[in-house]
């Protein structure tokens, strides 16, 4: 996770709160939140190697498949449920978000914006699926099966009556950083949403 993304996410998490991180990877984000915000954190991960990394870091981790739902977790049992850069690998991101809003008082979702100008230009110019620094996979080996744009995500929130508490956009390159404030769907590389029911 990039430093800027992390700083934004951290701002939205109250010190000492209970946090569930879906697709927590090697536990880096939870470790930072535990150390800097004193959160009581649990991660969910499916990859055996990453689970071992979490254990090595002393991060609470539970082996489970987010696509199977969070049925073991009671309603509102966490202050914040996070999903950083994992939404696009899920079979049903909409179901996952519904589950996050059930289990958490609030949710934070970050995802790569497929509406980004570089992605659009790549497809327009070469006529091939975009391969970028942020999304380095070929179409056939990518774990990312559900891309969306900022506009798509906004539409989903409207349809499902999900409240957007905050939204932030992150761009990597120079002109994009200035322009993302005006045209977020064109110039942000990553979108970060703070949601509630």
């Amino acid at each position: 996770m990039l430093r800027v993304d992390l700083d934004i996410v951290r701002r939205w998490i109250a010190p000492g709160s209970r946090v569930l991180d879906l697709g927590c990877g090697d536990g880096e984000l939870l470790r930072v939140l535990m150390d800097s915000r004193g959160v009581e954190g649990y991660g969910i991960e499916i990859d055996p190697e990453k689970i071992t990394h979490c254990v090595a870091r002393g991060v609470n981790v539970i082996e489970a498949d987010v696509d199977q739902g969070l049925t073991d977790f009671p309603d509102k049992s966490f202050d914040t449920v996070l999903m950083a850069n994992s939404m696009q690998v899920l079979r049903r991101p909409d179901h996952a978000i519904a589950e996050m809003l059930r289990v958490g008082e609030e949710c934070i979702v970050t995802f790569p914006n497929f509406g980004n100008i570089r992605t659009r230009l790549f497809l327009a110019a070469w006529g091939r699926m975009p391969v970028t620094r942020q999304l380095p996979y070929q179409w056939y080996d990518t774990p990312n099966i559900h891309f969306c744009t900022v506009q798509d995500f906004e539409a989903l929130c409207r349809e499902r009556s999900i409240r957007v508490l905050h939204r932030e956009f992150v761009a990597e390159q120079f002109p994009d950083r200035l322009l993302k404030g005006v045209w977020s769907n064109l110039f942000s590389a990553t979108a970060i949403y703070h949601l509630a029911k």
């Binding site: 209970r18 055996p48 689970i51 071992t52 254990v55 090595a56 002393g58």
Partner: protein
């Protein structure tokens, strides 16, 4: 015959007998005036006495977890793959303690030993036990060994129940609790298998209503049958298919032959059953399967496992195995959910294995790495 031990072995293991003269008040209301525990230890207790690890054995286990009793032993202790220098429970850093639990039949006070008050063998009159009685006797052993707090209490199956009970009974004395292929309580199916095994023993004419030793006999058939049933439930469908399939050990299906046919799986089960009947005590089997059946972690916490775990202070590692249907992954997930609800620290992994319930005893690359990684962190806090 090898003339030395493998370099990653704890080497020669010497069991020690500890005698306890202070009476032990049991959960059933009776008391043991005195008792003995047979114990093996591996590694050295450090100066701070902070590196002790308790290994809790399962139903048929004993104190001999690692190493060899003699240079020419065919097999090392029951968890030798995981305990030793350079192994996941690394004896270069940890002082590992394993004992034959009370009621057992490998030297500790139990049905096979003499009741000093009567001068007679305990036999079927040995008092019924609960897992908490084991914990109490183990706490006395810890006092004896100078261990104020365990770096970790580790157990699989019934041993996992033992480890969890430790974390609740003595929260300040357990830093880490490792619960492998275990459950908050047995399911009806599990109790059913135990009762089949018990009936097999009780209905053997040589059982003599539990007084077989007085008659100089052993209910071999009953014990063997109990073990055969148990063994089938410890393996997975896939493993039995791979290991035995429909292969024959003797005989043939060819026309014109009437020699009896024996499948490999049949001879394997008979062998396992007979071997068990040689070593294990029938009254101990009845006693300990009842301990398993009666165990319910949350019974006196309003049947709320989260409330139970709120009394614990340890960090937990919970492990299950995909093909284990005797203590299925779902049982471990119930433990994990209760720990999360109780705000306790927990890591949970479900290890891919086709070895069934026995997987917790067997080599497995991912399981070894996970346990090694977890124990390395435990060692950092010693």
């Amino acid at each position: 015959m090898p003339d030395s031990f493998p370099p990653d072995s704890v080497g020669l293991a010497v069991p020690e007998v500890h005698h306890f003269a202070e009476p032990l008040e049991l959960s059933c209301g009776r008391r043991l005036a005195s008792y003995e525990l047979v114990v093996e230890t591996y590694g050295e207790l450090n100066a701070k006495r902070s590196n002790a690890v308790l290994i809790c054995h399962a139903l048929s286990g004993n104190h001999h977890a690692a190493g060899f009793h003699r240079v020419d032993d065919a097999k090392p202790g029951w968890w030798d793959d995981y305990i030793g220098p350079g192994k996941p429970i690394d004896t270069r850093y940890f002082y590992v303690v394993c004992l034959n639990n009370l009621g057992g039949c490998h030297g500790s006070t139990g049905p096979r030993t003499i009741n000093p008050e009567t001068g007679l063998r305990w036999g079927k009159h040995f008092p019924p036990l609960r897992v908490r009685d084991w914990v109490l006797s183990q706490a006395r052993l810890a006092d004896r060994l100078g261990i104020e707090q365990w770096a970790a209490v580790i157990g699989g199956s019934l041993g996992g129940m033992n480890a969890m009970r430790w974390a609740l009974e003595y929260p300040a004395r357990v830093r880490h609790c490792v619960v492998i292929a275990s459950a908050l309580k047995l399911t009806a199916q599990n109790i059913a298998f135990n009762e089949i095994a018990r009936r097999a023993i009780r209905s053997d004419p040589d059982f003599r209503d539990g007084d077989f030793a007085e008659h100089g006999v052993v209910p071999r058939n009953g014990l063997a049958l109990a073990r055969m049933v148990g063994h089938v439930t410890y393996l997975s469908h896939a493993l039995m298919g791979q290991r035995f399939g429909r292969e024959l050990r003797s005989g043939s299906f060819a026309r014109g032959l009437e020699a009896p046919v024996e499948f490999k799986v049949e001879s394997y089960l008979h062998y396992q059953g007979d071997k068990f009947a040689e070593n294990f005590d029938a009254n101990t089997y009845l006693l300990i399967t009842k301990m398993l059946d009666y165990f319910d972690l949350a019974r006196e916490y309003g049947d709320d496992p989260a409330a139970a775990f709120r009394t614990a202070r340890a960090r937990f590692l919970v492990v299950s195995f995909t093909s284990d249907w005797r203590f299925a992954p779902q049982r471990s997930q119930e433990i994990v959910q209760a720990l999360v609800a109780a705000n306790r620290d927990v890591a949970y992994a479900c290890i891919d294995s086709d070895m069934g319930h026995d997987a917790f005893l067997l080599p497995n690359a991912r399981y070894e790495k996970l346990l090694r990684t977890y124990m390395a962190r435990v060692a950092e806090t010693c």
